[in-house]
Amino acid sequence: MTQLPTSTEKKLGLVIDLDTCVGCHACVVSCKGWNTENYGAPLSDQDAYGSAPVGTFLNRVHSYEIQPDQGPAQLIHFPKSCLHCEDAPCVTVCPTGASYKRVEDGIVLVNESDCIGCGLCAWACPYGARELDQAEGVMKKCTLCVDRIYNENLPEEDRQPACVRTCPAGARHFGDFSDPDSNVSKLTAERGGMDLMPDQGTKPVNKYLPPRPKDTWEDIDILAPLLEPVAENAGGLLGWLDKTLEKL
């Protein structure tokens, strides 16, 4: 049903640490790997070895540059996947009921056997978290690895989303936001976890930890005073060179 539940028992989601992410795209690859082999239609590629390859991905890593007024620019790697919004517009627009939000854990899923591939849910999502698979004609999106997190056939440590399990930098955290003592709730509180595009009113569950402030230029130069030039007005050969070059 595309009516959103008024509340969910759990609020499973991710915390993504923009300070720690190194932009290695390992989470993109592991996501594609797991989700192409497991739940639902595979994530197809078109013209994979040709000149214009395209394909379905549920997680993509953007990179942005921040240029502060002072100091060097910062590069921020920005992984983006479904944020499992509480007020998910992608769910309510769906005409078939294929899109739904689970009452038990808040995960937003697509029932592929009901999906007609109209694409309206992808239009309704502000974050670009849904992609229509071009081979199967059904909507694909992050499932929060619903087939891993409850999977008793996997070792305990693997019962988390593939992207979280694979991240070499520890930039991704999985947990229940409805529990104030969970790892994700604590991280969000400590580091000021933020919503993406809050003005869209989607109430995303996933949170992003902003980059920490960086050191400044000046602090690095502890030895600089010792290296200051002794003579301001150079004479001799250097002085002559200086004057000649100036005249050119």
């Binding site: 923009l18 953007h62 990179s63 921040i66 921020i76 769910v91 005409p95 078939t96 309206l120 919503d195």
Partner: protein, 290 residues
């Protein structure tokens, strides 16, 4: 947004078909027998043709019937229902007129209201989307309804209402362009609000997530068409309103009527093309585009 031909044809054709049904439903013109048959043939060809065309862009059209289930939340589902109910009600009304030479007036009025409701539902599929600020304003349903009523009147041979309504539709379209051009900035979405990174300085998209394109960019970050937008707006307006209205005012006969209709439809298709091509989805921000 990507201007998909099947969707442009669908919205224009079904809008005209339902517009015609509105006028036939209220008895303007009052038609019976074979004459009625011809009018309903055109109206149904447009409305049903448009609806069939809308299924061409589906990934799995064989499951289209499932789209009737979620009318409680989904405008797309409501549109499906309203279209089918309108086609049935007007169908009964038409059968009575064509074969029994009887006019079931209340049924006709009910059908007329339903026809407008169908067009409204179509407009709300786009109008509801907060992610596309140009669509997410009151002008979207007004434009769809005015275009449907004006074009429907023209095809139903209602000269005076056609002139008045086409002029009103043209004004609504121009208003939608004026407010729409500022809608994205008014909504306040920028790369820094999208990423939340703006507090420490200017944000710039440094590198996209992939070297090629993807579904999202093809579907929602359509920038090619906007280059000629101004020219197309002028051409669209001339074809949609100016030429038909001038022709009808000079002399309203079958020949000028036919030319006016062809010109009007070409103009409506141009305007609808722009409706899609000029619409900017907020997801473009993440790609450093609009």
């Amino acid at each position: 947004m990507h201007p998909a031909p099947s969707i442009i044809f669908f919205t224009v054709a079904s809008g005209l078909g339902f517009g015609m049904m509105f006028w036939l439903g209220i008895g303007a013109p009052t038609v019976i027998g074979f004459n009625a048959f011809l009018f309903y043939l055109v109206a149904y060809a447009l409305a049903v043709g448009g609806l069939i065309s809308s299924t061409f862009h589906l990934g799995n059209p064989q499951r289209a019937l499932k789209a009737f289930t979620q009318w409680k939340t989904s405008w797309l589902s409501r549109e499906g229902w309203l279209s089918v109910v309108t086609l049935s009600v007007i169908g009964l009304y038409a059968i009575a007129e064509i074969f029994f030479y009887t006019r079931l007036i209340p049924l006709g009025f009910l059908g007329a209201v339903l026809a407008l409701a169908s067009v409204f539902a179509t407009s709300m599929i786009y109008g509801q989307l907060k992610t596309v600020p140009r669509w997410n304003q009151w002008t979207t349903p007004v434009v769809f309804l005015a275009m449907s009523l004006g074009g429907g009147a023209l095809l139903a041979g209602q000269i005076l209402p056609a002139i008045v309504l086409i002029v009103m539709a043209a004004i609504a379209v121009i208003l939608a362009w004026i407010t729409g051009d500022k809608a994205f900035d008014r909504a306040g979405h920028t790369l820094s609000s999208a990423t939340g990174l703006g507090t420490d300085g200017a944000v710039r998209a440094f590198e996209p997530p992939h070297t090629g394109t993807n579904y999202l960019m093809k579907e929602m970050v359509h920038v090619i068409g906007r280059k000629h937008a101004t020219k197309l707006r002028v051409i669209g307006m001339i074809l949609f309103a100016l030429l038909p209205v001038v022709l009808l005012l000079l002399s309203a006969n079958h020949v000028t009527g036919a030319i006016a209709a062809v010109s009007h439809i070409a103009g409506a298709l141009t305007i609808r093309w722009l409706f899609f091509a000029e619409a900017e989805h907020v997801v473009g921000l993440y790609y450093g585009k609009r």
